[in-house]
Every structure is written in C-alpha cells, then in structure tokens.
C-alpha cells in the first residue's frame, strides 16, 4: 500500500520501520530530531519552514536522495485525487501548501496560514523516490519489506543502504530482520511470547499484563499513562431517531454532570485496568505536560451531589426508579464495540453505578461496522462508550473531534452552525489556537476549551490507560514509551541475543 495512505496501526508500524522522514519526533523526549533533514528554520509567523537535506543518502536502487524527491513526494501527497489522511493535515481552507526546491539539498515549504506545531507534521510524511512509477517502492528507512504472508506476517529485512550509523560507527540497524506477526487472539499472542516465538508485544491488555507480571515480572513493562482516553458520550443530535424525552435528558448539562458524578472512575481504573490507568479530567492526559490544564482534576464520585443536580433539574427518585418531570422512567442504552473486554466490563460497572441513581442502562455490544454506522450515519443510538488513540500531544489532533461542523464531532456530527453558545465558543477557540504558532496564546485558548468541556460534559472522560508492553529478555536496547510505537520506536538500535527459554 502507498505509505502516504497508511491508516491503521499495523500499516503505520510498517511505514515507521521502512520509510524515511525529514524530521522525526523522538518518542521518548517528544522533541523533533533531524533525520533526512539535518536542520530547519521556521519563520516567525509560522507560515514557512526551510529544510536543509542530508547529503550522501541513497535509495536502495542506488539513486541519490535530493530535494527533487521531497518535492515529488509532496506533489503526490497533495494530489486532490489521493485523499491521504496525511495530506489532509497539511490542508487548510486558505489554500494549498507550496513546496519548492532551493538547490539539490534545500527545500522550502510554505503554508497559506500560520501552522501550529509545524515540525510534528513532517514525522508522518514518508519521503519516496522521484523516479518510482509504482508505489509502494523501497524507501529510506532502516528496513525493507521482504517476505509477506497476507494476514499472517511481514518480514522486514535490513536496508543495506540505510544512511544512519550508531554512536560507535556501526552500520544501523543492528538486527538483520524484524518479523511483524498479525495476531488477533491476544491470549495466543502471550502464549507465543512465553514460548519465545515473539520478543515484543506493543500493547498488552491489563489482564494479560497481570498474568505476565506474575510469572515473569521483568518482561512486563508499564511505561505510564498514554495520551489515549476512554469516554462516554450522549447523542445530542436533534435529527437522531430517538425519543424526545431521551433527547431532552441528554441535552441537559446538569443531567450529564450528574451521570458523570455517579460513575466511579477510580473503580474502573482499579478493577478493569488492574490499576494500570489514571482517572481522566478531560481530553488531555496529565502526562501531556505541555497541554494539560494544571489544576484540573477528574470529576469526583459524589452520588449525593449527583442526586441534588438531578432534583434541581426536575428529576425525582421514586421506588428505586428515576423519573423526569413528565413521569418518564429514565432508561437508555449504551453501545460499545464487541470483543473489547475492557469496554464491556466498564459498561457493566457503569450500569451498576447508574442503577444506584435509579437509571436503567441497557448495555449493547455491536460489531465495529454496525457501531460506526450508528454513530456517524443513522445516529440511531443513545449513548456510546468508545476510546480515542492519540498519537500527537498537540491540540490540533482534536480539531476534527471538537469542531461542531466536523463529521467526527461525537455528540452532534456535522452541525451547520453551532447549536449552543458553548459549542460556538469551542469552535472559536480551537480555530484560534490553530492559527498561531505562539505557544502561550495557544495554551490559553486550549485551557479554556478544557474548562468548557468540563463545565458542559458533552463527553464524560473516564480514564487514560497506561502503555503496557511485553519485552523479552532476549532483546536489549528497548526503552518503552507511552507513544506509538511503544516498544520498537528505536528499532534500529535494538539487538537480539539467542533464545535460552521462553519469555
């Protein structure tokens, strides 16, 4: 597949290991580092970046890497017919990005408007050769795609013409090959790890982590809270085919806040995630020190306060059942995706928590395509429990979630105009922070967004799971991190010793 079209995580892993980029965000330090670009200068207004390219780099076919390759890559990327997700991060309403060569080893990229966090965008653009007629083609990464068994595994072999060397002058990568196995059964994956057939597992579920930690503690690694989040939201779309009383409840901020206060987030972290998660205060994890609003804490578990909020909003508690001001019993369904045990358990716990308020919850697990259809097309659902995988700590990552006009705006997709004053405020603030490169100004805007989300609770943020990995004793040099790819972000420096036993 064209590396500029990579969408899912397994495809992203292959792109990460086989393709070269101009600037790489170091997954441990979160700082931009030179890769195919040795240095760069960002204009003060954030509309232009000039990159000096590395000399002496060659493609696997022997042809030299020059500015022509960068220009051609961007030309292909920005082709309107391609509709690449990476390209869309470069697009703005004010026009197209212009990429021009300034000699064989310098490139200028001009944006039509100030662009926030310019360097991180280049981490996703795989630079290809200007001479290829068919994609994918061998790239400038540490590995090349070798044997491929569809749906089973892909072997990535060392790229003999890779430009990088280690600190002591050795040619990188240090391993001859990496085999990426496609394993759908997580229990089988762990079994194979124990037998020594697999050396790294990038993301472990909490129960598998606990099992591994009990038997082989040194191989189970908890790198800390990720940027990901698990959350619940209510369907607030006017056109949703759900009952009017239900819509009325969901559009009431006191109702949403009361539900939020009735959920025991600490229990969700302790029981479902076995302590390997942190209760969430909002969309940003506390580990995201640059953008987390200091002083924000998760909604406290306070059923008495929740009951008071509901009473103030016209609800009454009768014979164990919560009723609204029209006498309707408060009952609704929560949908989530089948096969995700953590979410199924969280939904069951939320069901019990809300039962104490007199709210009856029907939990429904759906296969993923059916779920997507309901939340994006038919809007035939009431509440949904899902999660978000955040790759980039920058708030611009959340643009297509928080903008009211976005089709991925969870609680009310594709609004023509914001239906509430607070949604209009969020729109204004998100666009403002994206239009400037000044960190302080952006932080001020985004802090206010986090406050509004907390006041209105259109999304009940539940927790941020930790990055749990399995690392075999055979592999040295692994530094697990909370950012994808968690265990092999530094694959070129990893070494493997011969297996003595499993795990």
């Amino acid at each position: 597949m064209d590396p500029l079209m990579m969408a899912d995580q397994s495809a992203e892993a292959i792109r990460y290991l086989t393709e070269g980029v101009l600037i790489r965000i170091n997954r441990l330090t979160q700082r931009p580092e030179p890769e195919l670009a040795t240095s760069w200068k960002v204009a003060k207004d954030g509309t232009k970046i000039t990159l000096q390219l590395r000399q002496g780099v060659r493609f696997p076919d022997g042809s030299p890497f020059t500015s022509e390759d960068v220009v051609e890559t961007f030309r292909h990327l920005l082709d309107p017919a391609l509709h690449s997700p990476v390209a869309d991060t470069f697009k703005t309403e004010k026009g197209m990005v212009k990429v021009s060569a300034q000699g064989p080893f310098a490139v200028i990229v001009e944006f039509p408007a100030p662009t926030a966090s310019i360097e991180s965008i280049f981490d996703q653009v795989a630079i290809g050769s200007a001479r290829v007629t068919q994609r994918p083609a061998p790239g400038l990464g540490p590995f090349l795609v070798g044997e491929r068994k569809s749906g089973v595994s892909i072997v990535l072999k060392r790229n003999p013409s890779y430009w990088k060397r280690s600190a002591d002058g050795k040619q990188l990568p240090l391993v001859d090959a990496i085999r990426l196995d496609i394993e759908q059964n997580r229990d089988l994956e762990l079994l194979r790890f124990r037998r020594g057939e697999i050396q790294l597992i990038d993301k472990l579920t909490p129960d598998l982590y606990e099992r591994l930690a009990a038997d082989a503690p040194r191989t189970a690694v908890d790198a800390g809270p990720t940027l990901d989040s698990e959350f619940l939201w209510f369907n607030q779309a006017k056109r949703a085919p759900i009952s009017e009383p239900t819509k009325e409840w969901f559009r009431s901020a006191p109702f949403r806040r009361a539900v939020s206060q009735a959920i025991q987030r600490a229990d969700l972290c302790r029981v479902v995630y076995r302590g390997h998660a942190t209760p969430a205060a909002g969309p940003v994890a506390p580990s995201n020190k640059l953008w987390f609003k200091q002083g924000m804490s998760p909604e406290a578990f306070d059923p008495a306060a929740a009951a008071k909020l509901l009473a103030g909003d016209g609800f009454r508690f009768e014979n164990g059942v919560l009723r609204d001001h029209n006498g309707n019993a408060v009952e609704f369904s929560i949908i989530t995706n089948a096969g995700n045990k953590a979410r199924e358990r969280m939904a069951a716990m939320i069901q019990e928590d809300l039962a104490k308020l007199g709210i009856k919850i029907n939990m429904v697990t759906l296969d993923f395509p059916s779920l997507i259809e309901r939340i994006t097309r038919t809007l035939n659902y009431e509440a949904c429990l899902l999660g978000l995988v955040n790759v980039d700590p920058d708030p611009t990552e959340l643009m297509n979630v928080l903008l009211s006009s976005a089709s991925n705006h969870p609680w009310n997709p594709s609004e023509r105009t914001p239906e509430t004053a607070w949604e209009a405020e969020i729109d204004r603030l998100m666009l403002a922070q994206a239009a400037t490169a000044d960190y302080r100004a952006r932080k001020k805007c985004f802090d206010r967004v986090q406050e509004i989300l907390r006041e209105q609770e259109p999304i009940l943020y539940l927790l941020h799971p930790n990055a749990l990995s399995a690392v075999s004793k055979q592999v040295t040099g692994v530094k697990p991190t909370t950012f994808f790819p968690h265990t092999f972000w530094d694959a070129e420096h990893l070494t493997v010793t011969k297996a003595e036993g499993g795990g």
Binding site: D8, H83, L191, D367, S370
Partner: protein, 279 residues
C-alpha cells in the same frame, strides 16, 4: 458403461449443484449488502481526514452498492479467472484464496485422517465403557471449548479437528460394528474357527462399507463447518479465519466467494453421501 440415463442423472445433479451454489452466492450478496455497517468505512473515523476526503470515501462506497451490477461484473470476471478484489485485505481474491487454502486443506486432511484412524481404531476392537464415556464427554463439549483447551496446552489446531471428529466417528462406527457382529453368519464363522481378523476383513467391513462411506462424506461437511470457529480461535491463517475477518469487515466480494466455495463443498459431499447411503 455409462448409459444415457446415468448421464442424465449426472447432468441433473451438476445443474442442481451449480444452481444451489449461485443461489448461495446471491443470498450472501444480498445479506451482506443490506447488513448494518456495510456502507461505512472505518477510515471515516480517522481524525486527520478532511470533510472532503470523508465525503469521497462515502461516495466510493455508495458507487459499489448495486448487487445486480456487481453480480454481472463478477460473473464476467469469473470466466477470466478473476474473482474480484478484497478491500479489507488489499489483495486480489483469487490470490488470497490460493494463499490460504493450503492451510485449511492441510488442517482438513490431517483432521479427517486422524479423526477416522482414531475413531475406527478405538471402535473396531471390543472396548469397555471407558472409551465410550470419553467419547460422550468430548461430544458434549462445544468446539470452541475444545479449541481453547488445546490452545492453552500448546496443541496445534489440527488436533482440535481430530478431537472433534474422532468421538463422532467412534460412536457411529461402534454402533455399526455391534450390529454387524450380531449377524448370524458371523456366529457361524466363529463357530467354524475363522479368525477374528478374517471375520473383520471378509465379513464385517464389507457389510458396513456403504454406511461408512456415507459417514465419510458427512464428516467432510462436519469438518468444513468446524473450521471457522477453530481457525478464528486458534488464529490459523486459513479460509475459516479469512471468512470470519471478511464477515467482521463486511468484505462483500470475499464473503460471496467463500460462501460459494463452502456451498460447492457442502452440496457435493451431500450428493455423494446420498448416493452411497444404503436404501
């Protein structure tokens, strides 16, 4: 050798199988097309995509929604050996099936051979109630449980099929053998000093061969039905898992092809089973 009447029967049978296979493919196509979630693409949830790109994705999906047009296109391609393209696997379907079929065929071959050898070996000599009880226990466990228990013990998926088939073959073969051994001519043969081995080979087995052949055909259908849960649970890269993933991803062309493949196997084995069954 083959008279006109025989040829007519064979042609009729082939025509019937072909009609059934086509009907199965068409039914599957309609099922998938109108199933919830078929017209959505998971990529729509990618936050990096612009509204224009999302609209483009939706429009592309809608373009391929006419079942009859797709069927005409598919039948045209079939004549050239082109089975279509799998969006979820990003590969031509013919290549995918050719890639995965050997694993499933190997699994079926080992499972059926092992199941028959074990089942018959335990059924033929007169055993006590122990094997019967074990067969009863294994028959009472769902395939998924057997698959998980084998997985946890590190046993291969081939063993699961052997364990699923052997008790069924054992029980049926044992009942047949008990009936066959109770025949008068067997008693006569024993009384005249004929060895047990000769009784088995010359009298018992020939008498029960038609029923065994019918069971053989039926066991193929059983084994095919068992491959989907076994491969899904044991993560075997065969046709069963391909079908399971295709159902989850709503990959219409792939599901239709696999359904027709299963329909061919099922209808052919049932036809053979009916043919060899004793009247």
């Amino acid at each position: 050798m083959f008279g006109a009447a025989d040829r007519h029967v064979v042609f009729r049978q082939i025509a019937r199988i072909a009609a059934l296979v086509l009907a199965a493919g068409l039914a599957c196509a309609f099922l998938v097309r109108y199933a919830p979630g078929t017209m959505v693409d998971e990529r729509e949830l990618d936050r990096r995509l612009s509204e224009e790109s999302i609209r483009e994705l939706r429009s592309k999906k809608a373009q391929n929604s006419d079942v009859w047009a797709n069927l005409r296109h598919y039948l045209g391609g079939l004549t050239r050996g082109d089975l279509g393209y799998s969006q979820s696997n990003n590969a031509p379907i013919a290549a995918l099936i050719a890639d995965r079929a050997p694993e499933t065929l190997r699994e079926l071959a080992i499972g059926l051979t092992g199941g028959w050898l074990l089942g018959l070996a335990l059924a033929i000599p007169k055993r006590g109630w122990g094997f019967s009880a074990l067969a009863g226990l294994l028959l009472s466990l769902p395939i998924a449980v057997i698959a998980y228990l084998c997985l946890l013990e590190g046993a291969g998926s081939y063993l699961v099929l052997v364990i699923v088939l052997a008790p069924r073959i054992f029980r049926f073969a044992r009942n047949l053998l008990v009936q066959a051994y109770s025949a008068l001519h067997i008693e006569m043969a024993r009384a005249r000093g004929v060895t047990e081995a000769k009784i088995l080979m010359a009298h018992v087995l020939p008498a029960i061969t038609p029923q065994l052949l019918a069971l053989a055909a039926a066991s193929v259908t059983m084994a095919i039905g068992a491959t989907i849960p076994i491969e899904a649970i044991c993560d075997v890269p065969g046709l069963g898992r391909l079908a399971w993933n295709a159902a989850m991803a709503r990959d219409l062309p792939l599901l239709v092809n696999l359904t027709m493949l299963v329909a061919v196997a099922t209808t052919v084995t049932m036809a053979v089973s009916e043919k060899v069954s004793p009247r």
